[in-house]
């Protein structure tokens, strides 16, 4: 294997699975497999695992809760513990918290409305497999589309999360200023995406796959795919 190979997990109700596949192939030209949640293993040579957005199990009960019990999840956990990258987007982020690969939970937006819109996020770290092609402090214009995107952790743990620098993306103004006014869903500290301590499992509410073509209004998500691709190739080269 010379290039990245991505497994996108398809749960019943996932609806951004194909979008992610198109975005990755359009921007990196690498291979993507759609992996049905009932499988127990990932395709050989999987580099990146993506839990895509959508409404797995209709978002019934709690978003992500039922998907977190899928047969494929053991393989995802194993993949993560081997140090390889796992990315959860939107509903995928919710699934990651339900699995326990990421801390916290995602609660209903303060407005109690579904929000679909472009918003801005600031890149807080450039030293992760997902953000190597960004600069720290860079502002991305990227869409969100969710009803439950308000990150929650008990205060104490939230402080630790911040102290350990695990927040990777934060909602902000077009100029990069953070604050409640620029946080569409009420997330504390404008948290839009977090990473685990080991630095290989990222969960984010914004949709990079929706910002990978200028025709669709933004290219700011494309470097994310490039970053992971470079990171994996670097690791393969070792």
């Amino acid at each position: 294997m010379e290039t990245m190979r991505t497994s996108v997990i398809v749960f019943p109700g996932s609806n951004c699975d194909r979008d992610v596949m198109h975005a990755i192939s359009a921007s990196t030209g690498t291979m993507t497999d759609l992996v049905w949640h009932e499988h127990r293993t990932l395709p050989r040579d999987t580099g990146l695992v993506i839990l895509p957005g959508g409404f797995s199990y209709g978002d019934y009960l709690r978003c992500g809760a039922m998907a977190a019990k899928s047969p494929i999840i053991d393989a995802v956990i194993k993949h993560a513990s081997s140090g390889l990258p796992v990315l959860g987007i939107c509903n995928g982020f919710q699934v990651l918290t339900e699995i326990g690969l990421l801390p916290g939970a995602l609660l209903a937006n303060t407005s109690l409305d579904f929000i679909c819109d472009f918003c801005h996020v600031r890149v807080e770290r450039e030293d992760t497999p997902f953000t190597g092609h960004y600069r720290k402090g860079e502002v991305l214009r990227i869409p969100i589309a969710h009803y439950e995107g308000r990150f929650y952790l008990p205060e104490e743990q939230l402080r630790t999360l911040e102290e350990e620098g695990l927040v990777v993306f934060r909602y902000c103004s077009p100029e990069g200023v953070t604050g409640e006014d620029f946080t569409p869903n009420g997330s504390p500290n404008g948290i839009a995406g977090i990473i685990n301590r080991k630095g290989n499992v990222l969960g984010m509410m914004p949709h990079p796959e929706r910002a990978t073509e200028s025709l669709l209004g933004s290219l700011d998500g494309a470097p994310l795919w490039g970053s992971v691709n470079s990171w994996i190739r670097g690791r393969l080269g070792e």
Partner: protein, 85 residues
Amino acid sequence: MTFLAKILVFPREGVLDTQGKAVGKSLNRIGFGSVKEVKVGKYIQVLLEAVTEADAAAAAESMCGELLVNDLIEDHTVQVGPWKP
């Protein structure tokens, strides 16, 4: 006096319970084969001021009628008691 009204809201008999169906299947799938049926509804706790328990119950019932319950598709029960913090 303060009362606590506990309101249970659930899909009417015969009305499709989309959540219950999905949750039931999931429980079966993750090893709870003994589960025969699941219904998912809402549990609403209302803390309210009233003079008597009967007043509180009447108020809670009328909240159900006006806002909390869509009786085209939902059934409900109300249980009221004095509030013990």
